[in-house]
Symmetry: C2
Subunit: 349 residues, 2 copies
Amino acid sequence: MGLSIFHFLYLPTLNTRVRHYDVVAAPQSGWSSDPFSLTARNGYLYGRGVTDNKGPIMAVACAAAELLGKRALDLDIVFLVEGEEEAGSGGFEETVRSNKNAIGPIDAILVRYMPSFFEKNSAECAMKQQFDMDSRRHAFKGPDLHSGVDGGANAEPMTDMIRLLGTLVDGQNQVTLPGFYDCVRPLTEQERQLYKVLSGVTQTPATVLSAKWREPSLTIHDVKVSGPTNATVIPSMVTSRISIRIVPDQDLDTIARTLQDHLVHQFKGMRSQNSIEVSIPRTADWWLGNLDDLWFKALEDAVRDEWGVEPLRIREGGNFTLTSLCLLYPTSRKSLLVMRSTFLWGKAL
Amino acid sequence: MGLSIFHFLYLPTLNTRVRHYDVVAAPQSGWSSDPFSLTARNGYLYGRGVTDNKGPIMAVACAAAELLGKRALDLDIVFLVEGEEEAGSGGFEETVRSNKNAIGPIDAILVRYMPSFFEKNSAECAMKQQFDMDSRRHAFKGPDLHSGVDGGANAEPMTDMIRLLGTLVDGQNQVTLPGFYDCVRPLTEQERQLYKVLSGVTQTPATVLSAKWREPSLTIHDVKVSGPTNATVIPSMVTSRISIRIVPDQDLDTIARTLQDHLVHQFKGMRSQNSIEVSIPRTADWWLGNLDDLWFKALEDAVRDEWGVEPLRIREGGNFTLTSLCLLYPTSRKSLLVMRSTFLWGKAL
């Protein structure tokens, strides 16, 4: 991780802005110009990462510099800019930890996301929840064989993997781990009303919004095979990567243990000749913002003042980085602000 | 495909030997020396492909040259040597077809495999059956999403794929396609006795040998995801590659249609928002040798004479190449000889 720290020490309060500048691999098609060359077209800048997240970095840095020049910046800002967010922010926590003195005390953390869901309409929103993720891998090991020669004689690792993965989510898209939904915080009447409003604004059923924003979920990201992936080879090892998004008030340790136990128990029931390994390389807890927080209200005011619209309050899932920050700055756990807007960062300034 | 033709025109009958010199990717570990540099150690040659299939090419070429020099080669030999067998022999059939005049008439085709199953014991065997393979792909297309942000709101293509693949093989490793086993030729008493003998020689249960050699099978080779395989990305497209090994007297077209119908029907039942595409880019029929064939008996005699052991008759699965040859040389359909032996091709000559 590259950590760039910009201190503006003229002012009494500290506000940290967190961003990353790396991107995931660009898809092959759908580009009108080379995604890795910034191209100006009709008043917009096009390129991989201009909205997620290079544009926002530059926009906020320019705004801060302008305000600073006018002596109108009424708080200190620390920028945390990293280049490994898309690869899991491996060194983030350690780097922040070893630079805590340089960063200094923090009152609030502001994260500004690229526009995604809201880019197609004009709603502004302030986000009040950050979910975090569990990455889990499990692997089957078996023999490396030729399907023409050895097919049918063995429980193939891929077949075991498919069967095991099939026990995690049912036909109604519900996670089938025992007790998985037991502790999910019930929907309040106030929330129900909010989802009604959001459903109208987004033209999306409230159940879909609720599934995305307040219900837990499980995703199978990848199934990797050992060997050359030839159509003649029975892969000797199959690895899968799954993640679980947990929500209030699920217990991280319980969910992790339940998943581990479930996979091992189900596999045992298969009586396979193969072996299984389950590892949970990284976990992160859920986080929920406080709507009555001073900083949250200030952010909502800023949205109202600047764009003249009533901010929408949504929850949204996220990543490990923010949880790392919450752990490092416990006082700011209730002051982590996540804002999403329709502002097109890629638009030429 | 590179086609090398060596004619030895002194003699009345023609015998074609088919080989390939390419290899699948080498695994990372388990090598004492660079797999792509031929290394001599304790009287053996080690290197990727020395048994499958460069060694055999050289050994037979040297033997033919020696016999030819002694005027003791009593038949003509055509060598078909290709370098794309492991990639599916894409140009094989076309190249052979367009060179039929140069190759001339063929009485028998001999394929010599690397030692695999039998390399750990001293049994010699002549193989009497060649199964061939069906490659099939199917793909799910869906939205490209972030699991933290959008997880739970959609039927994810991977979940659909896992569920669909799960309907192909049951917990007893049996293919669950309707009527899949109906036409499999019943085991005769003579075969039962043969498997008893083979079970003793190989120290392997007859049921396992039968599953490998005379029963059909289905293998899932690969599950590929679109996108970067990051632990935050819900892949928008998931592709799987499966193959089916069919056996006498299964009907290729019926099996192909059954698989296609099964996948489409099962997917329809899921009522998913995703879409499915099933394609069968290549099929090949089963082939079964004739034990009373002149050439087969000559091969058995040669094994007896050379190694002083009674050859074992086994069936074994294979690949597309041989079926292509059978189609091109219908008269040799009953004269395709496949021999496997314990001779260590890699041993220094």
